[in-house]
């Protein structure tokens, strides 16, 4: 009797372990694992606060900025409040810079605009089309910000031009939801964006 109970418990425990830790499943590809991991994040909605640090080649210190992101199904407004006030709208048409109160589309930015929207909306079809995805260890302790990083990360390596001309890779991290985006540019520049939910996310609009 005891051995039967023991076997049952072992089967149940194995099944639970498999469900809880798909990474350890040898049959699953890294891409599938990465997608599954992203799928486990709660989709960000409405307003998100961000802080960005940008290491630009030739600059001795990183550029720090903060503001908020306003996410809607079709577009993402990137509003910087500190150190200067600026707004950028990203959608499938491209990147629009706010100049003199109106948004002006920047030529040739279609894919970049779509990319940022796809990252935040976790548009898996888009990401799979343009990137090779793989799970990576959290870069805790190595983060330039010095903040402790938690959660799992997914590395996105661009597969084709023109993204290959801009990015070496992109890292998305989070636990429960996306909380960190790291953009490593081919030119040697690097951006780290930390996201947190805004207290009044649903109400705020640009």
């Amino acid at each position: 009797m005891n051995w039967r109970l023991g076997f049952l418990l072992w089967v149940l425990a194995s099944a639970s372990a498999a469900a809880a830790a798909p990474v350890s499943d040898k049959a699953q590809t890294p891409q599938a694992t990465a997608l599954q991991q992203m799928a486990s994040w709660q989709l960000p909605q409405g307003k998100l606060l961000f802080t960005q640090q940008k290491w630009i080649r030739g600059l001795k210190r990183p550029l720090k900025s903060q503001g908020y992101l306003q996410l809607s199904p079709q577009s993402l407004d990137w509003v910087t409040e500190q150190p200067v006030q600026s707004a950028v709208r990203l959608d499938k048409q491209g990147v629009q810079q706010q100049l003199a109160g109106t948004f002006q589309l920047q030529a040739g930015t279609e894919l970049i605009g779509h990319l940022m929207l796809a990252v935040l909306q976790q548009d898996q079809a888009f990401l799979q089309q343009y990137f090779s995805l793989q799970p990576v260890q959290s870069s805790a302790g190595q983060a330039p910000s010095g903040q402790e990083q938690t959660g799992q990360c997914v590395q996105l390596v661009p597969l084709q031009a023109p993204l290959t001309n801009f990015y070496r890779h992109i890292v998305l991290c989070g636990e429960g939801s996306l909380s960190r985006i790291e953009l490593i540019e081919l030119a040697g520049n690097r951006s780290e964006i930390l996201l947190t939910a805004a207290p009044d996310s649903a109400k705020t609009a640009l």
């Binding site: 030739g58 200067v84 950028v88 920047q106 001309n165 990015y167 540019e185 030119a187």
Partner: protein, 759 residues
């Protein structure tokens, strides 16, 4: 016997000499098949060179579809690897060139707004804009901050690149090609530049065959693979193969018909052999002359030149029949033959005066070929054939006699009435129907499959630049850029008026050196200002060193550099020229007048330009033809008397108007090539008229003229079925003209005889 040997030896020596020359020269020559290149270009040679060297003429595009994206990428990569002789134009190359250009342009270019802000010392605005760019999530251009911390060049490049972005439409760049989806089916678009001239059929035909073969091999691996292509190469090769096929097909059929005709008339191999030798010698002489005088023989010229068979055989028939009548008759025939040669040579020589290479080549070929045929008849025929050695078919003689007898029924009044009414009716019909077209686009019929390919490619790749462009000329490169800048307000105004959607000028990418110097000075001032100092301090970068190495044309990406042109030193050619590419332009007279006022810019439309020149040539040819006819009639009037000359005039009018009326009744507009046909109709009709007006027996003349007319009609009639409209029109005109001329020419003898009797 000695004379016979000498003549044959001379003939053999000349044939060997010509053959040796051709076997030495022909492999070195490149045959051309461009119908538009054969037309007159611009007055200025540099404009024609510019169009000929325009890189768009050498480019091909290939769309692959029918497979999955991965398979398409694999096929595209294989195809590119298999064809290293093509210069593949890839997004990767574009990107690398753009990046190199960005690097060099940092700190030297700025948008118009930024320049104004800089000039107005609105430094805070510039600093704010720079912060926006620095803090936005967009990637930054490599190594830009050291030379241009305010990022003015990045903003300027974004503005300039908007034109490029429009070009790519809904396409996504991959490394070696563009890709997209059409009706939910993925496709890849390959773009390459040829190292060869697509009109050089010696090189273009093998290349074309190889490309298609490789595609077929790939299709065997991937049966679902489909492709569409565009580019001048495909049209040029098609035109070349059509011209070659027509030349051998029509030439072969004509030759066969002539052989059968000779066999029917003489039932002997000897005249047949003599006629073939005559035609062969004439063709050899013609080819040698063309190769001697022209660097690039044109295939279409030889399509027209197949008519040599028709005219040369005329001489052969006169010679064959005259030799049979004895030396005395042969000597009486010679003045007529000489006068006939002279009138035909004069007609063809007129083509030499026209600024059309293709017709110049036809003229040279015919002048040399006909002279050779004439010399053969004069010197070889009397020694090759004996008197009464041949029996002319009774049916042929009967036919000739019947026609002569038919016209004998008419009395003087009836004969004049017939000519008068015929001339009036044909002229009235001509005046009612006449319409001309000089549009060179109608001269050549596009292959329907290639046309379909072109249209589909346009759907896939989006709107391309127009086939017309603005030409800006100057003495120096710097002045050229200044002049382009002066033109910009006009272009902007046209854009606002909806007359122009977009343009691409060199000056959009390359400011003048003085403008670059001024920008540098202003930037240095900005860096020294309080706002500038604070901005640089916040950024943590030092004040950039003043730049002294300026941006030049050599730094431009290839696709912009191609818009600059340095014409060969020539009378009237400017030292420097730039092309401004236009998209969806509909410029009218008012806009052209605005350009003309500037004095350094002009709209250049190669097609319109060639059409206008064709119209000019047609006008010149009309005048030349009318003058030649008037002179010929005056001469005939002096030689034969006024009434016979008047009869010949009416005869010519009937032949010419009938020839043109057939094309008009078929709904065609008359082109320059119809007029060229008229020129030949006049030459041949005068030829017939001279023989009928001579003192030779009408039945003998009718037999020779009739036989030669039948062969000429067979030769020219074949051209009426050509796929090239201009050649078909040429064939129809001559076919009808000769038919009418040969049927009505005996009336000249009848009128001549009646008038002589009347006197």
């Amino acid at each position: 016997m000695k004379k016979t040997t000498l003549i044959w030896s001379c003939w053999l020596a000349l044939v060997l000499l010509c053959s040796a020359y051709l076997s030495w020269q022909l492999p070195q020559r490149h045959w051309s098949s461009s119908i538009t290149a054969a037309f007159p270009g611009s007055d200025a040679d540099w404009q024609r060179d510019l169009v000929a060297n325009h890189s768009a003429n050498r480019q091909i595009r290939l769309a692959l579809t029918g497979l999955s994206e991965t398979q398409l990428a694999s096929v595209a990569a294989k195809f590119q690897q298999q064809n290293p002789q093509l210069r593949w134009i890839t997004p990767e190359q574009h990107w690398q060139q753009l990046q190199a250009y960005y690097q060099g342009a940092a700190g030297l270019i700025a948008t118009e707004t930024a320049s104004q802000q800089l000039a107005g010392q609105q430094y805070q605005r510039l600093a704010d804009a720079a912060w926006q760019q620095l803090l936005s999530p967009l990637p930054l251009a490599d190594n830009m901050l050291e030379r241009d911390p305010l990022l003015l060049s990045q903003a300027a490049m974004q503005q300039t690149a908007s034109g490029l972005s429009q070009q790519f439409h809904a396409l996504t760049p991959a490394a070696g090609w563009l890709k997209g989806k059409f009706e939910n089916e993925p496709f890849v678009l390959l773009h390459a530049e040829l190292a060869i001239d697509p009109f050089d059929s010696e090189l273009a035909v093998p290349l074309h065959a190889m490309l298609l073969q490789q595609l077929h091999v790939l299709q065997q691996q991937y049966p679902e693979l489909r492709w569409q292509h565009s580019g001048l190469l495909f049209h040029a090769v098609k035109a070349a193969s059509t011209a070659k096929a027509e030349m051998s097909w029509y030439g072969g059929l004509s030759m066969l018909a002539i052989v059968l005709l000779l066999w029917w008339v003489f039932a002997s191999a000897k005249p047949l052999l003599l006629a073939v030798i005559t035609l062969g010698s004439a063709a050899l002489a013609g080819l040698v002359a063309v190769v001697w005088f022209f660097e690039s023989p044109h295939l279409l010229a030889f399509v027209f030149a197949t008519t040599l068979i028709g005219v040369a055989i005329d001489y052969s028939f006169h010679g064959l029949l005259a030799v049979q009548q004895g030396p005395a008759f042969f000597r009486r025939m010679l003045p007529g033959l000489s006068l006939s040669l002279l009138s035909t040579l004069l007609g063809y020589a007129a083509l030499l005066l026209l600024p059309l290479t293709i017709l110049n080549q036809v003229a040279v070929f015919m002048l040399a070929g006909l002279t050779a045929a004439y010399l053969m008849v004069c010197f070889v025929y009397p020694v090759a054939l004996e008197q009464q050695s041949l029996q002319v078919a009774a049916s042929a003689r009967r036919g000739a006699n019947l026609l002569v007898q038919f016209w004998q029924r008419f009395n003087r009044r009836q004969a004049w009435m017939l000519f008068g009414i015929g001339a009036m009716f044909s002229a009235l019909l001509f005046l009612l129907l006449v319409k001309f077209s000089d549009d060179v686009r109608g001269f050549n019929q596009l292959d329907p499959t290639l046309k379909q390919h072109e249209q589909h490619m346009l759907k896939l790749s989006g709107q391309q630049w127009d086939n017309k462009f603005l030409l800006v000329s100057a003495d120096q490169s710097e002045q050229l850029l200044e002049r382009e800048s002066q033109l910009r307000p006009l272009l902007q105004a046209w854009q606002q008026q909806g007359l122009l959607r977009d343009w691409q000028a060199v000056s959009d990418w390359l400011p003048t050196i003085s403008a670059q110097q001024q920008l540098q000075q202003q930037l240095q001032q900005a860096y020294q200002s309080a706002v500038g100092q604070q901005f640089l301090q916040q950024l943590g970068v030092a004040v950039p060193l003043p730049i002294s190495q300026w941006l030049t044309a050599k730094d431009l990406p290839d696709f912009v550099q191609q818009q600059l042109y340095t014409p060969a030193a020539d009378a009237g050619a400017p030292a420097k020229v730039s092309l401004i590419l236009l998209r969806e332009s509909t410029l009218g007279k008012a806009q052209l007048a605005q350009l003309s006022q500037l004095g350094f810019a002009q709209l250049f439309d190669p097609i319109e330009d060639a059409s206008a020149k064709v119209a000019g040539v047609r006008h010149q040819l009309s005048i030349g033809l009318a003058t030649a006819v008037v002179v010929a009639i005056l001469l005939l009037g002096w030689y034969y008397g006024v009434k016979r000359a008047f009869a010949i005039t009416l005869f010519l009018q009937i032949a010419v108007c009938s020839a043109l009326n057939v094309s008009l009744l078929l709904g065609q507009a008359l082109t320059l090539f119809h007029l060229v046909g008229v020129l030949l109709v006049v030459a041949l009709a005068l030829d017939y008229a001279i023989f009928f007006a001579s003192k030779l027996e009408a039945a003998e003349v009718q037999l020779a003229v009739g036989l030669s007319a039948i062969t000429s009609m067979l030769a020219f009639g074949m051209l009426a079925f050509s796929q090239t409209p201009v050649i078909a029109g040429f064939g129809q005109t001559i076919l009808t003209g000769i038919l009418v001329a040969v049927l009505t020419a005996p009336l000249i003898t009848r009128i001549g005889n009646l008038e002589t009797q009347g006197r």
